[in-house]
């Protein structure tokens, strides 16, 4: 039972990671990377490591995405809204 769940989660993580790298827009890439973080939280729980899963859940899907989005905001030219 656990083996099939691990296999399924790994396949979905690989598909989401591929979609993240091949995306054209950089914001889409960051949102898909948050999906990879979510999948890895599930994997850490299945590997009997709850401390690591808790840390990755708080950091990977909260602070890391916000830091990436703030970096995008400060490194792209904004268009002047009329």
């Amino acid at each position: 039972m656990i083996g099939i769940m691990i296999l399924f989660t790994f396949i979905s993580i690989t598909i989401v990671a591929l979609a993240s790298i091949l995306a054209k827009d950089v914001t889409t890439s960051v949102i898909f990377f948050m999906g990879v973080g979510l999948g890895s939280v599930v994997l850490f729980t299945l590997f009997q490591a709850p401390d690591v899963a808790l840390t990755e859940a708080v950091i990977g899907t909260g602070i890391s995405t916000v830091v990436f989005l703030l970096g995008i905001r400060h490194t792209t030219k904004e268009e002047i809204k009329s």
Binding site: T14, I21, F33, F47, A49, V67
Partner: protein, 125 residues
């Protein structure tokens, strides 16, 4: 068939193939992407692949998490706690280093106005 998927050797093979494919996808991203933030996303993806590989290879069948509760009263048949302790602190430090790298990129954008890594060649002769 279900018993075959729960063996330790099979799960180790799945972990090796899965985490190395995630690592390779991140490596491809580092080679080909032009925008700075996408290169940093690819680096973070390679980091995550190494964490999954590390914790996945220490998993043994029917061993439980290293925490006591009402049902488990002694420290026997538990997974190794040392790699979990190491990966825990490494995840937090990876976040701090990512913020530092992004602050360098922000300051560079303020100076020259480009975030294309093929145009950052002031050190070339």
């Amino acid at each position: 068939m279900l018993e075959f998927f729960n063996l330790t050797q099979t799960i180790h093979i799945i972990v090796i193939v899965g985490s190395m494919s995630l690592f390779t996808i991140g490596l491809y991203g580092v080679f080909t992407q032009k925008q700075l933030v996408k290169v940093l996303v690819s680096f973070s993806m390679m980091e995550m692949a190494v964490f999954l590989f590390f914790i996945g290879l220490h998993y043994k069948e029917s061993f439980t998490a290293p925490i006591l509760d009402n049902n488990i009263q002694t420290f026997t048949n538990m997974v190794d706690p040392v790699p979990q302790a190491m990966i825990l602190t490494t995840i937090v430090i990876g976040l701090a280093i990512l913020a530092l790298a992004l602050s360098f990129g922000i300051e560079y954008f303020k100076l020259t106005g480009t975030n294309d890594i093929s145009k950052m060649n002031e050190l070339k002769d």
